[in-house]
C-alpha cells in the first residue's frame, strides 16, 4: 500500500485567516448596515502600473506571431530580466552578482517554500517569532519540525527567536546553533527591520557557525531609512552564507501576476558543493520557468517611467502607513513598524489578547485586522494592520479605533 508523507499530518489547520473570515462574515450577516473596513489583508489593491501594462500587452502581441513567439523559457529565466535585476536592484547598492546566480521564479512564496528541498532533512532551522508561516510549514513538510506542541503553538525541533518590543524586534543570536536561519527584513508581520550593522552580526554568526541564512527581502522597496540594508549582500561575507529571496508582489503589485527571484551566490558552499548548483538542478527539474509575458511585464518596473510609477504606488501605501502609525501613536497606542514597511504592529491595549482585541475592533469599530498570535506565540498581545487600503478608508478606520 502506498504511504503518504506523514509530516503533513503534523501541521495544524491554517486557522488564522479562516477564523478571521468566519468572524467577519458572521458580524456582517448580523449587522448588514455596518461599513466594515479591512486593514487585515496583506494583498495589494492598486492596479499594475502603465509601464508594466504596456510591456505585458507587448509580450502578448509577440506571442501571437510565429516569428516572435516564445516557447520554453531558459531554466534560470530570461537573461534580459536577470541582467536588469543585477543592474537595478544590486549594482546601485554595491553588490556585484553573476547572471547565473539569479534564478527567476513564479514568486517568493514558492521559493521560500521550496528552498528547503535542497537541504538535508537533518538540519535544524531557526525562525523569528512571530513569523511568516510558510518558513515553518514547508520545513515541517520536509520533516524538520519534530512534533507540534499545541499548548505552546510551536514545533519541538524548531528554534524560535522571539521578536518583541523588549528586544526592539531584533532577534538575539540563538543559544542552540541552527543550521538554517530564516530572516525577513523588513519583517512580515511586525513591519520592523534591522540596520546593516545588526544584520552584519547575523552574517558573521552564520559564517562562524556554518549556518546558512535564507533572507526574505520581499518588502525591501518600502525601506525609507538609510541604515537599513536592501540586500543582505550589502553585508561583508554574506555571499558565503546567505540566499536572498525577492518578489515583485509588493513593490509592483504582482501578487496576482506572480514573479520573484532568488539569488544563490556561487561562494555559498557546503564542502566542495556549490549550493547554487543544487538550486539550479531543482529549478531545471521541478519547475519550468515563469511565463515570458510576466518576465517581460517585470521589465516595465525598470524603465525610468516605470520606476517612477511603482514608486508612486509605494508612496501611496506608505501614506496609509503614516496615517495608521501616527494616528494610533497620538492616541496613546504603542505602535511599531510602518516606517520601512507597509505593516504596522501594535500592542493590544489593556492586556487584551490578540483575539480579544480583534473582536473589540470588529464589533465596536467595524475594523478588521490580524491577531498577532496567529503568527506565533510571541505575537500574542500584538495586532497587525496593513497599509494596502484606500486613503479614505484608512483614515476612517483609524478615527474609529481612536474613538474606542
Amino acid at each position: 500500500m502506498f504511504k503518504i508523507n506523514e509530516n503533513y499530518l503534523k501541521l495544524p489547520g491554517s486557522y488564522l485567516f479562516s477564523m478571521i473570515g468566519k468572524k467577519v462574515s458572521a458580524y456582517k450577516e448580523a449587522n448588514p448596515d455596518r461599513d466594515v473596513i479591512s486593514l487585515g489583508i496583506g494583498d495589494v489593491t492598486l492596479p499594475l502600473v502603465p509601464e508594466v501594462i504596456k510591456k505585458l500587452h507587448g509580450a502578448v502581441d509577440e506571442m501571437a506571431v510565429k516569428e516572435t513567439f516564445r516557447g520554453y523559457t531558459p531554466d534560470l529565466g530570461y537573461q534580459f530580466l536577470r541582467d536588469a535585476i543585477i543592474e537595478n536592484d544590486f549594482l546601485p547598492r554595491g553588490v556585484q552578482l553573476d547572471n547565473d546566480e539569479v534564478f527567476i521564479s513564479d514568486g517568493a512564496k514558492s521559493d521560500t517554500g521550496n528552498i528547503g528541498d535542497i537541504f538535508s532533512v537533518d538540519n535544524r532551522i531557526a525562525v523569528t517569532d512571530p513569523v511568516y508561516p510558510v518558513y515553518v510549514d514547508s520545513n515541517v513538510m520536509n520533516g524538520r519540525g519534530g512534533i507540534y506542541l499545541p499548548d505552546q503553538g510551536r514545533f519541538s525541533d524548531v528554534i524560535y527567536m522571539p521578536c518583541t518590543a523588549e528586544n526592539n524586534f531584533v532577534p538575539e543570536l540563538p543559544k542552540e546553533r541552527p543550521d538554517i536561519i530564516y530572516l525577513c527584513f523588513p519583517n512580515n508581520p511586525t513591519g520592523t527591520t534591522i540596520t546593516k550593522d545588526q544584520l552584519q552580526v547575523w552574517v558573521d554568526y552564520a559564517r562562524r557557525e556554518g549556518s546558512v541564512i535564507i533572507f526574505d527581502a520581499a518588502y525591501e522597496a518600502y525601506i525609507t531609512e538609510d541604515d537599513v540594508p536592501h540586500s543582505i549582500y550589502e553585508c561583508e561575507g554574506a555571499k558565503e552564507c546567505a540566499i536572498e529571496i525577492r518578489s515583485y508582489s509588493k513593490n509592483a503589485g504582482f501578487t496576482g501576476t506572480r514573479l520573484g527571484f532568488t539569488v544563490v551566490p556561487k561562494q555559498l558552499m557546503c564542502g566542495d558543493v556549490h549550493v547554487r548548483d543544487l538550486w539550479a538542478r531543482r529549478h531545471g527539474t521541478k519547475f519550468n520557468g515563469a511565463p515570458y509575458i510576466v518576465q517581460m511585464g517585470a521589465m516595465g518596473t525598470y524603465t525610468p517611467e516605470g520606476k517612477k510609477q511603482i514608486r508612486e504606488e509605494i508612496d501611496y501605501y506608505m501614506e496609509n502607513a503614516r496615517t495608521i502609525r501616527q494616528g494610533l501613536a497620538d492616541a496613546g497606542y504603542a505602535v511599531y513598524g510602518g516606517v520601512n514597511s507597509p505593516y504596522i504592529w501594535m500592542k493590544t491595549p489593556k492586556d487584551l489578547s490578540s483575539w480579544e482585541f480583534f473582536d473589540l475592533l470588529l464589533n465596536k469599530a467595524n475594523v478588521v485586522g490580524t491577531p498577532g498570535s496567529g503568527f506565533g506565540p510571541h505575537g500574542e498581545g500584538y495586532f497587525r494592520l496593513t497599509s494596502f487600503g484606500t486613503h479614505e478608508n484608512t483614515k476612517k478606520a483609524i478615527e474609529r479605533i481612536i474613538k474606542l
Copy 2:
C-alpha cells in the same frame, strides 16, 4: 554546519540535451553552409491562437484598472477555469469531478515534479523505460532512487518497466509491487499509447495492490483513435487510485506561458486521509497560484472559436507526424507512435546505437533528432523525431533521411 540534500548528488548530469547541443554546434561551425533541420525539440513553434491572445489582452487590461485588478489568486485556481475544465475536458467523456478536485498550476512539469512531495520517502516507484526524466529525477531528489548504477543507466531502487517494440510499448505488470506508478499516455518519448481496456488492467492492478497511479495526460489532445482514453478516469475505479496531470503546453502552445492542472479525486485515500487534502496543503503553502492573466488566457481555449483554433494547430503538427511516419515507413524503417501523439519513435537501422544513428543523421542528412538511450536503457536502439517543425522543413528532413 548546514547539510545539503545529498540525494541531489546522486543525479547524473543532464547529459542528453547538452550533448546534442554540443554536437550540433560543432557540426554547424565546421559546416556553416549546411542547412541543419531540427526534429529534435519537444517545444511547440506555432503562436498562441487568436482567442487566447484576446483573453490575455483582456486580462491585462483588467489588471490596469483598480476596479478589476486581481491580487492573490484562490489557492486552487480561479473557479471559472476549474469549472471550464470539468465541463470541457471531463464531462464530455463521462467523468464527473468536483470543483475542489481540480488544482490549477503553473504547468505539468511542476506538478509531476512536486507530486512526490506528498508521499512518504518510503515508497517504491515504478516507471516505464524509456521515460520522461522528471519522474525519476524528482523521486531521486526525494530519496527514493537508491544509488545510480552508471553501467546500467538506472537507479537501484526504481522499478523500470520496459516498453519496446516486443511488447508493443505497453508495459507489463511489474513482478515487484510498486507503491507509486508513473504512466504517461500518449507517451513521451515513444509517441505510443494504450487502449482503455489496457489502462483498465493497470487501474485494477493499482486498486488490488494498493498502489497509486500518477497519470500524465499532457498529450491527450493528440489522440485520434476512439479506443484510446483521454483521461484515466474513463476507467472504472480510477478515482480511488489515480492522480491525473494535464497541461496546456502541447494542446494550446503554452510551453512559454505556463499553465496546467492536476486532478486529485476525494476518493483517493490512504487510510482515513484524503490524498487531495495533502495536495491542497502543499498548493497553499509552497505555491501561490498561476497568474490571473494566464488563467484567463486558458479560457480562450474553451470558446467555440478557440477550440477550433487550437484544433487547427494540433492538426498542423499531426500532418507533420503523418509525413514523418509515412515517409519513414515507406522507406522501410520501423516506426511507432505519431498516430495519437506528436512524437515518432523509430528503430535505428542496421543495429546502430542511438548515438551512432544521431551522428549519421546529423552528418549525412543534416537532421537533428533525439537518441532514445537518453530516455532510459530500453530506449537504446531507438530514436525520437518530433512534429513541431514546419511542413516544409519536416518534408525536407524526411526526404534527406530516406536518401541515406
